[in-house]
């Protein structure tokens, strides 16, 4: 088996002042060419985990421990110069809201050329390279698009431009943070198809962050489920969706109405609301909402155990009948 492209181990993220844990000892790997999804609700730490890989944590929030090994380099120890060289070329990111991620007063062509310029010298071929990438992501009338401003495009087209920008320097890893959440479903499907196509063509690894289990069901190879700053379950899409082991994953899946359920039976709901990660302490984060909770669950925190195909952090997984 080849070495992982990205190996995150024991990653902790917390606020700098009055330290509050936001992400608690997270470990996972991404193989070359593999697509991994991270699923979680707001506050579960999925976005912070992604931002820490890029060294872009918001002010006041910092890595508290662990390592992020990308292609042999520990990014938690890398200086800002190394990180800047990495961002946009080896690892690139697509954000949720393309309107705030693009510069509203700069023509798109210029913004895309800037991506190349920040990593290598511009030459005669640079414009052609940008145009070719725009064509690849399905932008019509590319020459005109180069001269346009972001507001002249629809949400779906802007997201295509963001994807072109991320693909421009052929990254090894693409991180996508809910890039289709703001889009209509038919446009979302177009974007998912585009990303899926490009990933296969370029043999690129991908980390796709979302709160929507339906979106990743056919997009990624493996899935990580986060809850209150912890990974509660990870495994192949097949395993997670057909045989969820953690009561949270199980509850989440049965709380969703499905297209194939003819009976429209009552949705199973998870009582309560997600716990704040810094209030979890040395217990299972899901214990207050779990129907299988025992004294063991609040005495210590369960560790994530298992293989790459399937692992779970729970004292009483669903398989334990």
């Amino acid at each position: 088996m080849s070495n992982p492209l990205l190996s995150v181990s024991g990653l902790g993220i917390s606020t700098v002042q009055d330290p509050r844990t936001l992400v608690n000892s997270v470990s996972f790997e991404i193989m070359p060419g593999e697509a991994v999804g991270v699923v979680g609700e707001s506050g579960s730490g999925k976005t912070l985990t992604a931002l820490s890989i890029l060294g872009l944590l918001p002010r006041g929030v910092a890595i508290a421990g662990g390592s992020i090994i990308f292609n042999g380099t520990d990014l938690t120890k890398a200086d800002s110069e190394t990180m800047r060289n990495l961002r946009g070329s080896d690892i690139s990111m697509v954000y949720q809201d393309p309107m705030t991620a693009l510069n509203p007063v700069m023509k798109l062509g210029r913004q895309l050329l800037e991506v190349i310029e920040s990593h290598e010298k511009l030459d005669d071929g640079s414009v052609a390279r940008v145009e070719a990438t725009l064509r690849e992501v399905g932008i019509p009338q590319v020459e005109r698009a180069m001269e346009s401003y972001p507001h002249e495009f629809s949400g779906g087209m802007r997201q295509r431009v963001m994807i072109a920008m991320a693909l421009l320097l052929s990254p090894k890893l693409l991180i996508a943070d809910e890039p289709t959440t703001a889009l209509d479903v038919t446009i979302q499907q177009q974007i998912l198809a585009l990303v899926s196509e490009q990933r296969r063509k370029r043999d690129m690894s991908m980390l796709w962050i979302t709160h929507d289990l339906g979106v990743v069901a056919n997009l990624v190879d493996r899935l990580i489920v986060m809850y209150a700053g912890n990974i509660v379950e990870a495994g192949t899409v097949q395993e997670i969706f057909t045989n969820p082991q953690h009561p949270y994953t199980h509850g989440l899946l049965s709380s969703l109405p499905s297209r194939t359920d003819k009976s429209r039976k009552r949705l199973t709901s998870i009582p309560g609301v997600p716990q704040k990660p810094w209030l979890v302490g040395d217990t299972c984060a899901f214990a207050p909402r779990c129907f299988k909770v025992t004294a063991e669950c609040t005495a210590s925190a369960p560790k994530l155990v298992g293989s790459l195909e399937k692992s779970v952090a729970c004292f009483h997984p669903m398989g334990d009948k």
Binding site: M157, V185, T186, H211, N218, R259
Partner: protein
């Protein structure tokens, strides 16, 4: 008793550019009491405009909306008030639809007082009753909205809507802003309330899975028109209009995994600008079935079987 929406049109004039936005272009639909109508469509299809027109927040440019035989418009303030006691709206965002500086008790009590449904000294009891009805601890009455979770806030909004003792509740994307794990609870609450209070719902969403789950009948909207209408089973299991088919195919579903066709592109292009509506059928520019006549003749809704209506000449 029923809600009758007949040929409703709504246009907004953009004074700056002198252009007209065609939000609703002839919508007709009848909702029987006790029924839940689901309205599904993408942004700009007019579903929220229709919701606002039903509660009297917008006046149609043409056509009429009548509830129990009375026309809904804002010409007579008294009539609108009596209408509001029968028809209430719950908005998508429970964060911006509650006053952040008011305790939730006051937000609910204010609605009771406006409609004068309960004697002043009984209002406190009524608030308690409403909070219990939506599954909230009455001790939360003195909280401010920011002290509540999203799900709790949406329950407060539902309690406030119910305080007027409405017959019809218009729900405009009521769970879209909530965390995934709390959506099911609010959906279950809505289903219980419908049963216990005999309510009629108009449930508006872009999320076909939720629409499918709660609706008796479903209307699919595209560019200010209904393109298909039928029972939920007919629309989901046997969609006929090419747009409905594309919408269903694009709906992400966690129960279908490892299926590469889920990532196939079913619909090219984007929704046309409602300022310049396409001629003929408004869907023809994106439709795989389109023939030349589609760009000149606008199809009307026709009955294809037992109340299953579709506006398409090619199916």
């Amino acid at each position: 008793m029923s809600l009758d929406i007949v040929n409703v049109e709504k246009r907004y004039l953009n004074r700056a550019s002198g252009t007209t936005i065609n939000a609703l272009n002839g919508v007709s639909i009848k909702v029987e009491v006790g029924q839940t109508l689901g309205i599904v469509g993408e942004s700009g299809c007019g579903k929220s405009t229709l919701a606002r027109a039903v509660v009297g927040l917008e006046v149609p440019s043409a056509g009429s909306i009548t509830w129990d035989g009375a026309v809904i418009d804002n010409k007579a303030k008294d009539r609108l008030k009596s209408h509001h006691s029968q028809v209430q709206l719950v908005f998508q965002d429970p964060y911006s639809s509650l006053n952040p500086r008011q305790q939730i008790e006051y937000s609910i009590a204010e609605a009771i007082e406006v409609h004068g449904l309960v004697a002043k000294d009984k209002i406190t009891d009524r608030v308690t009753e409403l909070l219990v009805m939506v599954g909230l601890d009455p001790d939360l009455r003195n909280r401010y909205p920011h002290q509540l979770s999203g799900g709790q806030r949406q329950r407060v909004c539902i309690a406030r809507a119910l305080s007027a003792e409405p017959k019809l509740l218009v729900l405009d994307e009521p769970v879209s802003a909530l965390d995934v794990s709390v959506r099911a609870e609010v959906m279950n609450l809505l289903i219980d309330l419908r049963k216990n209070l005999g309510l009629t719902y108009i449930f508006i969403s872009h999320d076909l899975a939720m629409i499918r789950y709660i609706s008796d009948v479903i209307a699919v909207m595209y560019l200010g028109k209904i393109v298909e209408f039928g029972t939920w089973e007919e629309i989901i299991e046997n969609p006929v209009h090419p747009y409905t088919k594309a919408l269903i195919a694009a709906m992400p579903d966690h129960s279908i995994i490892g299926d590469p066709t889920m990532l196939a592109r079913t619909l090219e292009g984007e929704v046309p600008d409602p300022v310049n509506l396409p001629s003929g059928c408004s869907f023809h520019s994106r439709c795989a079935l389109a023939v030349p006549s589609c760009s000149t003749v606008a199809p009307t809704l026709r009955n294809i079987s037992n109340g299953h209506l579709v506006a398409c000449s090619e199916v």
